[in-house]
């Protein structure tokens, strides 16, 4: 079946618009689309989206993470093997994280990372045929916000929820940050790390994030105010 931008698409649909644009200019096709001999076919069920100039992708529901280059993820160190750490990021294989890819790390000065630690890192290599590779520094050798996440609480959620809360138009974090102080790291692999001053605040924050999955922007705002009043003890 033919599909156009904004439609609900199923695997097997094709988009003539992309092929037509592709003849004149360069087109980027993202996840959920595949070029075959005659057409560009859809491979996932969701909504076909477009961003100028000529970037197309399918926004679909997913829980399992497939590594992609350049994404920030949260992983758990599961093994120390020689000069690399193996990190579980939720994909089919563990990712490798070299001990030299931390800020200021040298062969003599090894970073203090233990098995079971939670790390916030960037995907440097992600190919279907190779083991994914992580780094905890940017191209200037600075750690930025990456590295080991100490204390706090990690929970899992769907990949859509991560994209939703990281969207600059989403009011969730905007509303919550005015209510009480907290730290948050969202990994594109469907894991969220949060840290607040008290246990009550941490639980409230986690519930607010998970509850926002199927809510509209307006509903999110009122939910945040609700949770804040309950937390402040105005309503028991």
């Amino acid at each position: 079946m033919k599909a156009s931008v904004g439609d609900v698409v199923l695997p097997g649909d094709y988009c003539e618009e992309i092929s037509a644009v592709g003849e004149k200019a360069k087109v980027i096709i993202g996840p959920g689309l595949q070029k075959e001999i005659d057409h560009v076919y859809v491979t996932k069920a969701g909504i076909l989206k477009k961003r100028n100039p000529n970037t197309y992708w399918v926004d679909n529901y997913q829980k399992r993470y497939i590594p992609a280059r350049g994404e920030n993820v949260i992983g758990v160190v599961v093994q120390k093997a020689g000069d690399i750490f193996r990190v579980d990021v939720g994909s089919s294989t563990t990712a490798a994280l070299s001990y030299l890819s931390f800020e200021g790390a040298t062969k003599k000065n090894k970073p203090d990372v233990q098995i079971g630690d939670v790390v916030y890192a960037k995907m440097l290599v992600a190919s279907k045929d190779m083991e994914p590779e992580l780094v905890c520094v940017d191209s200037h050798g600075k750690k930025g916000r990456m590295g080991v996440l100490s204390d706090g609480f990690v929970f899992k959620c769907s990949l859509n929820l991560i994209r939703k809360i990281l969207n600059p138009h989403c009011p969730l974090l905007e509303s919550l940050k005015n209510e009480w102080p907290f730290e948050l790291a969202a990994g594109m692999n469907g894991r969220i790390w949060i840290k607040a001053n008290t246990m009550r605040e941490t639980i409230a924050l986690g519930n607010a994030i998970l509850g926002a999955e199927y809510l509209s922007d307006e509903e999110i705002k009122s939910m945040c105010t609700n949770i804040a009043t309950i937390l402040a003890g105005h309503v028991s």
């Binding site: 199923l10 595949q34 491979t43 909504i47 926004d59």
Partner: protein, 219 residues
């Protein structure tokens, strides 16, 4: 016998579906077609044993559990049909050296269990977000004593029928993916049943699209 077939004259059993019925699996769906109900869970791509890994595509594993829980040869046959159908539909080359597990649980069987299981598997795969070439729809039909063709037979119709035919179609060109049959039937009856089921598969594809649009609107 008319070759021209109008979709409007068909009525399939009412279908109801729910996605994400299981919270822990990567993709799951529960589907009822009339009284028949199946539940499917899809997990993957996962890490699997070295000896079952394939360097060019993902390894698909299908488990079929009956209501009684006792494994039988008939279940292995169903598993192999479902596995072969899924292997053509899933773009396994995107997930080399990994495994995909599909678990099907029969909940109620009032006829048409296999086609219900296949449709439910397709919905669970859509929910899991695995890349697929196309979606597929399974339709069952029976040839009764007088040679008439009954779409989606009930349990009584199926037991008294001369032959039972099952077809699976893909969504791109409505080509036949899988066909399996039991009993005796004439060639013309087979041809007619094939065309009728092909036309009826449109209803299933429309149902898929409806349910996906309902879910896509909330995310």
């Amino acid at each position: 016998m008319g070759v021209e077939i109008d979709t409007k004259e068909f009525k399939l059993k009412p279908m109801k579906c729910e996605f994400n019925f299981l919270s822990k699996s990567d993709g799951s769906a529960i589907l009822s077609q009339g009284e028949t109900v199946t539940l499917v869970s899809v997990n993957g791509p996962l890490d699997i044993k070295m000896q079952s890994q394939s360097i060019e595509k993902s390894t698909l594993e299908v488990l079929f559990c009956t209501k009684g829980g006792k494994p039988s040869v008939a279940d292995r046959y169903k598993e192999s049909i479902i596995r072969q159908t899924c292997e053509t539909a899933i773009l396994g080359s995107l997930y080399p050296r990994s495994g995909i597990t599909v678990t099907i649980q029969e909940l109620e069987d009032y006829g048409g269990l296999l086609s219900c299981a296949l449709n439910c598997t397709c919905l669970a795969l859509l929910n899991s977000g695995l890349a697929m070439r196309f979606v597929f729809a399974a339709i069952s039909c029976a040839v009764d004593e007088s040679g008439n063709i009954v779409l989606e037979p009930t349990q009584e119709q199926a037991t008294s029928a001369r032959a039972l035919l099952n077809f699976v179609f893909e969504s791109r060109n409505k080509d036949l993916l899988t066909g399996f049959s039991e009993g005796s039937y004439s060639e013309s009856a087979y041809e007619e049943a094939l065309e009728r089921c092909r036309a009826a598969s449109d209803l299933v594809f429309t149902f898929y699209r409806d349910i996906i649009s309902k879910y896509s609107n909330v995310i």
